[in-house]
């Protein structure tokens, strides 16, 4: 058998599975309303220094209202799971809220280009990073969701991603094959935007769920924003569609159009104009400061943010683009 290697980095976030069992044992699992406000959820459930995970896919089904509120409340030294983190990463870096990140994909906004501000934060070491991949972080959530300390897989080996990770190689007890072992990742707080939830936190998501099934089950605390609150009866009438059960959830907030300027599948497309404006604003520090003041710091809540960026008229257009009745981009 060849030598088994280890990544050279330290784990940013790891809880022993027995410690997590004690935590989940004590977590209140009664069927009680979790309704609250964005501001209270951020104040009460996210503390400086904690490690957070954001649902969706960077610019798709993202919990924008909560991300903005984290910036507004000037949370500091947060850790982040950077599982295709695009606009979400951009927001948190703009607010200087995070100082470390397990990364798969950061800085970029996919086909839209790169965030110069986010890039600078990583290049200058303001945000410390450890390397992973999209699958690796999803498997780390999955291990946590399953209640095991690690999962084996077959990627990442032989590359510098492994070298600058905190993964380990192991030998398969049945085949003798070399495998990579991914340690469980339990974020302190998960934040997910969904299509529907009841007041207790029983949630449905339409379309791809990315890694939210796993992340919801991995997180110690879970904040849900939802396009709409639905009666529990409608959940009970179709329990097959429940993706997140209530006992995982700590806060539920109804935020219509809550993924704006991100895409909400089947409902509204991303606001490419606004995302482009954001990327442009980053190029000049003074202009970016004004941009953030205008869009986040001097804004009372999510309604106002939507209002100053076009309000109902803009939302209607994004709905039309999503439904292919109007040309986008």
């Amino acid at each position: 058998m060849q030598e088994l290697k280890s990544g050279t980095r330290e784990l940013m976030q790891f809880y022993d599975c027995d410690e997590m069992r004690d935590y989940f044992r004590k977590k209140d699992k009664s069927l009680r309303s979790k309704l609250t406000t964005v501001s209270d959820a951020v104040k009460n459930l996210i503390s400086d220094g904690e490690y957070i995970a954001v649902g969706g896919f960077g610019g798709v089904r993202i919990p924008t209202a909560v991300l903005h509120e984290i910036v507004r409340q000037r949370k500091k030294n947060l850790g982040l799971s950077g599982h295709t983190a695009t606009h979400d990463f951009q927001i948190l870096v703009a607010g200087e809220c995070i100082n470390r990140c397990d990364i798969a994909y950061i800085i970029g906004l996919e086909a839209r280009g790169l965030s110069s501000n986010a890039r600078k934060a990583v290049e200058t070491g303001k945000v410390k990073v450890v390397e992973w991949t999209n699958a690796a972080l999803a498997w780390r959530y999955k291990a946590a969701a399953m209640g095991v300390p690690f999962l084996p897989a077959r990627n990442m080996m032989g590359t510098d991603v492994f070298r600058y990770s905190a993964a380990k190689e192991i030998e398969c007890p049945f085949t003798g094959k070399k495998l990579v072992a991914y340690p469980a990742l339990h974020p302190d707080v998960g934040i997910i935007h969904v299509h529907r939830s009841d007041i207790y936190g029983n949630c449905q998501i339409d379309g791809i769920q990315i890694a939210d099934y796993e992340m919801a089950r991995a997180a110690k605390k879970l904040i849900i924003t939802t396009e709409q609150i639905v009666p529990t009866e409608s959940i009970r009438n179709d329990p097959t569609r429940t993706i997140i059960p209530y006992y995982l959830v700590d806060a539920v907030i109804e935020v219509p159009f809550g993924s704006y300027p991100g895409n909400m599948p089947y409902m509204y497309y991303s606001d490419e104009e606004h995302l482009k404006e954001w990327l442009e604003a980053e190029k000049d520090p003074q202009r970016f400061k004004e941009f953030l003041d205008k869009n986040i710091y001097n804004v009372k809540d999510f309604y106002e943010y939507v209002e100053i960026n076009g309000g109902l008229k803009k939302l209607h257009k994004l709905m039309q683009i999503e439904k292919l009745t109007k040309e986008g981009r």
């Binding site: 060849q2 969706g56 896919f57 960077g58 610019g59 798709v60 950077g82 295709t84 990364i103 798969a104 994909y105 950061i106 800085i107 970029g108 996919e110 086909a111 790169l114 890039r119 990583v122 290049e123 070491g125 390397e131 991949t133 999209n134 699958a135 690796a136 999803a138 498997w139 897989a153 077959r154 990627n155 990442m156 080996m157 032989g158 590359t159 510098d160 991603v161 600058y164 190689e169 070399k178 495998l179 990579v180 339409d206 379309g207 791809i208 769920q209 990315i210 890694a211 099934y213 796993e214 895409n263 909400m264 599948p265 089947y266 497309y269 991303s270 999503e322 292919l324 986008g328 981009r329």
Partner: protein, 257 residues
């Protein structure tokens, strides 16, 4: 004779490698266009996945994100990221398409950083995303990229996605699945493949109007030569018509060529 730009050429050439009945994980941009073109030309039964969880969609327009709603428009399954990744890990997926800031003679790709000190990169890029996963777990990695010697380098600063690593047998020795690895690199000048014995990159065809010398000049390492180097067949009028009218009518991708 049809006229075309280099992006159109790359998309047409790449699409021809995707045979009917194959499975492919595509990203946004040129790979997506190549897969759509293949489906409309010769491979109606090419099945496309997206890494965020979409299976076999009917793409209405080009997605901006590999997770946006376009990727599962009228899909046969809208699942999760691990559904795609585990399908790859099980050997279900024939092809993936990747890019990068640097590629070396073994097809190793760098999309993480430029520089030699990990703590102090000269330039930081987004990182693997799903690229390492797809390069590790699908059978054949395809690359579509413009070719120049700053991109085609002797040694990549950081191996983000595994090619053949250090040569024949190195993937298997590292623990990656047997028989997988880089397949073709489609550039604006030609098509490169890999020598079976050494796993080093070689010239396989040269695009019309270019020479083997042009390819060598734009490569920062020594390229091997296939036994028979052909001239790449030009995009046909039909290919161009379908690409322009049906695949990318708003020129999101081919407008960049």
């Amino acid at each position: 004779m049809a006229d075309y730009n280099s992006m159109e050429l790359m998309i047409c050439v790449a699409s021809r490698f995707l045979e009917n009945g194959a499975t492919v994980v595509v990203g946004t941009g040129a790979p997506c266009a190549a897969a759509m073109l293949a489906q409309k030309m010769h491979a109606p039964n090419l099945m496309a996945f997206f890494e965020a969880g979409a299976f076999a969609p009917i793409l209405p327009t080009m997605p901006i994100s590999v997770g946006d709603s376009r990727t599962f428009h009228k899909a046969l399954m809208a699942s999760g990221m691990l559904e795609t990744m585990e399908a790859c890990q099980k050997g279900m997926v024939d092809y993936c398409f990747l890019g990068g800031a640097q590629i070396d003679m073994y097809g190793n790709l760098n999309s993480s950083m430029i520089g030699i000190d990990y703590e102090h990169p000269k330039v930081r890029f987004p990182g693997s995303g799903g690229a390492n996963d797809l390069a590790s777990l699908t059978w054949r990695t395809m690359v579509i990229t413009p070719q120049d010697s700053r991109r085609f380098v002797e040694k990549v600063d950081f191996i983000t996605s595994p090619g053949y690593l250090t040569g024949k047998g190195a993937r298997e020795k590292a623990g990656l699945p047997k028989g997988s690895g880089p397949y073709k690199v489609v550039t604006n000048i030609g098509v490169l493949g890999y020598d079976e014995e050494t796993c080093r990159m070689r010239i396989e065809s040269v695009h019309p109007g270019y020479s083997v010398e042009d390819i060598k000049k734009n490569t920062g390492f020594e390229l091997l030569l296939a036994k028979k180097i052909t001239e790449t067949a030009k995009p046909t009028e039909e290919e161009l018509r379908v690409l322009r009218e049906q695949v990318d009518p708003y020129k999101y991708i081919i407008g960049r060529g």
